[in-house]
């Protein structure tokens, strides 16, 4: 049988890069959504309080 060279470092680097980038994108998006929701809640709260005090 033909002996094939072992290229596992290339395979490991490909998987690590792809899965790592996917993880960073996914976690980054989730954190951004959480932060934006919290910020919107704060801004909406301020706006509601201002409307109530104005009326």
């Amino acid at each position: 049988m033909m002996h094939l060279p072992n290229h596992w470092p290339y395979i490991a680097a490909s998987y690590a890069l792809t899965l790592g980038c996917s993880l960073v994108l996914g976690v980054g998006a989730a954190l951004r959504l959480r932060k934006s929701k919290a910020r919107l809640a704060v801004v909406e709260g301020h706006a509601r309080r201002r409307e109530r005090s104005a009326s």
Binding site: T18, S22, L25, A29, K37, R39, L40
Partner: protein, 276 residues
């Protein structure tokens, strides 16, 4: 050009055309149903758990199958396992660009309010997929071809796609007036679509070092089913993952935009009350 030129006969204020916001008519078709950000947020909220759990499940199965169970290639040995991440990235890079072009049409023709926001969010994700496709391709090419890079038609057209993504990302943020940047980026996205068939057919049109397609719509696949299954599973997994990321980013962008609008309105109110 001013708004009154554009809407002939309508007595509206002479605003620069980029300042005019055309209201979306409440038509019952699918295109306009999701023009309402609230409706889109509800859809995204319902879909996100399914998309993300599906992505995790498919990727876990696909990666384990591809790395440890699928057979090695008789010529390439274990290096063929790079295919299970390289091919999904190539597919996603092309699909995301098609998504950008669709957003461009929706923005330029129908002025769909979410299309520009979607284009802003799809661009970096697609660029990431194109970069990963090029890098994993290099990591596959070095042991198989003996070089990290060749100016082969398939590789070069994929590099052009990556540069188109970079151009889109830069252009959409290049103008002080966001509407102008979005319009220019939409035109670039539409013009760049020509690269997609070039990528697809490059291995047939030119004599390339890159291997021809193993999966086609018309013919039977030229690879073993034991390799095809993990490839399909990882492709579905990455596609679900990217869909989840884009939905999440778009939802976040809608929240950020709403917060900016509220802040701007409160600043105006404060200025009015101070002036009074």
């Amino acid at each position: 050009m001013i708004a009154s030129d554009y809407f002939k006969g309508e007595p509206i204020a002479e605003l620069p055309i980029s300042e005019v916001r055309v209201p979306v008519r409440p038509t019952p078709n699918l295109l306009h149903r999701y023009a309402n950000p609230g409706q889109f947020l509800r859809l995204a909220h319902a879909l996100l758990p399914w998309l993300s759990s599906g992505a995790i499940l498919f990727l876990t199965v696909g990666v384990i199958w591809g790395l440890f169970i699928a057979p090695a290639d008789w010529q390439q040995g274990d290096t063929v396992r790079i295919m299970y991440v390289h091919v999904p990235m190539a597919w996603l890079a092309s699909s995301c660009y098609l998504g950008l072009a669709v957003c461009g049409v929706l923005s330029l023709v129908w002025r769909h309010p979410l299309a520009d926001l979607a284009a802003i969010e799809i661009g970096p994700v697609g660029a990431c997929a194109a970069a990963l496709c090029l890098i994993t391709g290099s990591l596959w090419g070095e042991p198989m071809w003996g070089t990290w890079w060749v100016w082969d038609a398939r590789l070069t057209s994929m590099l052009v796609l990556f540069f188109l993504y970079l151009g889109h990302i830069a252009l959409i943020r290049a103008f002080d007036e966001p509407a102008r940047g979005q319009r220019a980026a939409a035109i670039l996205a539409l013009a760049g679509v020509i690269d997609l068939p070039i990528i697809k057919f490059s291995v047939q049109w030119w004599n390339t070092l890159h291997q021809p397609d193993s999966i086609t719509l018309t013919g039977a696949p030229t690879m073993s089913m034991m390799m095809l299954w993990p490839l399909l599973i990882t492709t579905i997994g990455f596609t679900l993952g990217v869909a989840a990321v884009i939905f999440t980013r778009l939802s976040a962008a809608i929240h950020e935009s709403r917060a900016r609008q509220l802040l701007a309105r409160s600043r105006l109110d404060r200025r009015d009350s101070q002036a009074a």
